[in-house]
Symmetry: C2
Subunit: 202 residues, 2 copies
DNA sequence: CCTACTTTCGGCACTCGGTGTCATAACCTC
DNA sequence: GAGGTTATGACACCGAGTGCCGAAAGTAGG
């Protein structure tokens, strides 16, 4: 049955990939934690993974991307969750649930995710990349809010930025208090930052 | 009298600097606007400024920094404005006034600032750097709020991120609507995003 | 004017991230 | 085994950024 699955995955045979993005990301993250991000060259990662340096750049467009391998999936979850959100639900509830779902980490991956968050938030080059990656989150959230409240671009943009800000703030708080649950932190920060309609009145 | 000023500026003579960071930043921004950021090499900038490539890196640590030359000054204004904020003022008012003051652009620099904002928000590498630079803003705002509301780290962190998010959102809105005033946009977005104490009540 | 000192300049060589090209390896189906 | 397909990795190349070091261009003092 594994054969059938593989046959369904690849259209027509060719040389099989010697590794996977996920596996390569694990090797890279391990090295980053051991020696530091800047002190680990792509050559080091490639050597540790047993592949050529050129091949690394076929799996990831840049060295930093090795730590954002799962981001595309998370982004897709956010998009699909918002797409199926009930029309009559409060927009803040819809966004909160979607974000929590997209960023949910399986119990077994908790330590791994925590270490990755520590790396990202402590290395400037990774902070910078995080901002670019999360721009995708912001855009999705902004579009969702703009679709609900037509005509108020500023409000939608603010809400989109609030999602980004809450996500970053929550991860920061998480690495400072690893005993707490990321999901609950996310809910708390989103409640603080997602703007209400008509701020002074409501 | 210019002599006296120069004498006061430099401790002891030496070879005079052939240019200034400000002048170099102008040359760089002009080239970035003409050819694009990625298509302009440091060699191009150095040649256009009549200096050596090595000298460019004495004025700016990186190519991207040429567009953030004024950031250090703005940061200092934010810090000093918050330091002199009246104790009894609403924290949101204090932050709003400090941000507006720090980001105030003289009428003559308006077009220049607008072009820079467009560049930064359209080139990924510059977006990334902006996030790193604004981390300084965030830290200052977070410290200010933490000093007022002791014990609520999460609230302070959220407020700090709100300042960053509002600043970015305001600039985005500004380049989309150049006829509006940045100051007013900043006030509106900050009003939306700066969290109130005790979100459900208050 | 010459010397000593100080500071900036800029060339050279180097590392590293990232890319285009291309020959080759390793799989498939017929 | 032949032909097609895909991944690999070696090579050369470019640009960003850095360490090193000699030279330029000012100053102050004799």
């Amino acid at each position: 049955m594994a054969v059938e699955w593989e046959a369904a995955e690849r259209d027509r045979g060719g040389r099989p990939a010697v590794t996977s993005a996920h596996e390569l990301a694990e090797v890279a993250q391990r090295l980053f934690l051991q020696r530091g991000f800047d002190e680990t060259s792509v050559d080091d990662i490639a050597a540790a993974a047993g592949i050529g340096r050129r091949t690394f750049f076929r799996y990831f467009r840049a060295k930093v991307d090795a730590l954002f391998a799962e981001s595309a999936d998370e982004l897709e979850v956010l998009r699909s969750e918002l797409a199926v959100a009930p029309e009559d639900a409060d927009y803040r509830t819809a966004i909160t649930e979607a974000v929590v779902t997209a960023l949910h980490v399986a119990p077994g991956d908790r330590e791994w995710a925590l270490q990755r968050a520590q790396l990202i938030l402590s290395v400037p080059a990774l902070q910078a990349q995080a901002a670019v990656v999360f721009a995708g989150w912001r855009r999705i959230a902004t579009d969702f809010v703009a679709g609900r409240f037509l005509g108020d671009d500023l409000f939608a943009a603010a809400a989109g930025h609030a999602v980004l800000a809450a996500t970053l703030a929550a991860h920061e708080h998480w690495i400072a208090h690893p005993d707490e649950e990321l999901e609950q932190i996310l809910r708390d920060v989103l409640a603080l930052l997602l703007p209400s309609r008509t701020p002074s009145g409501q």
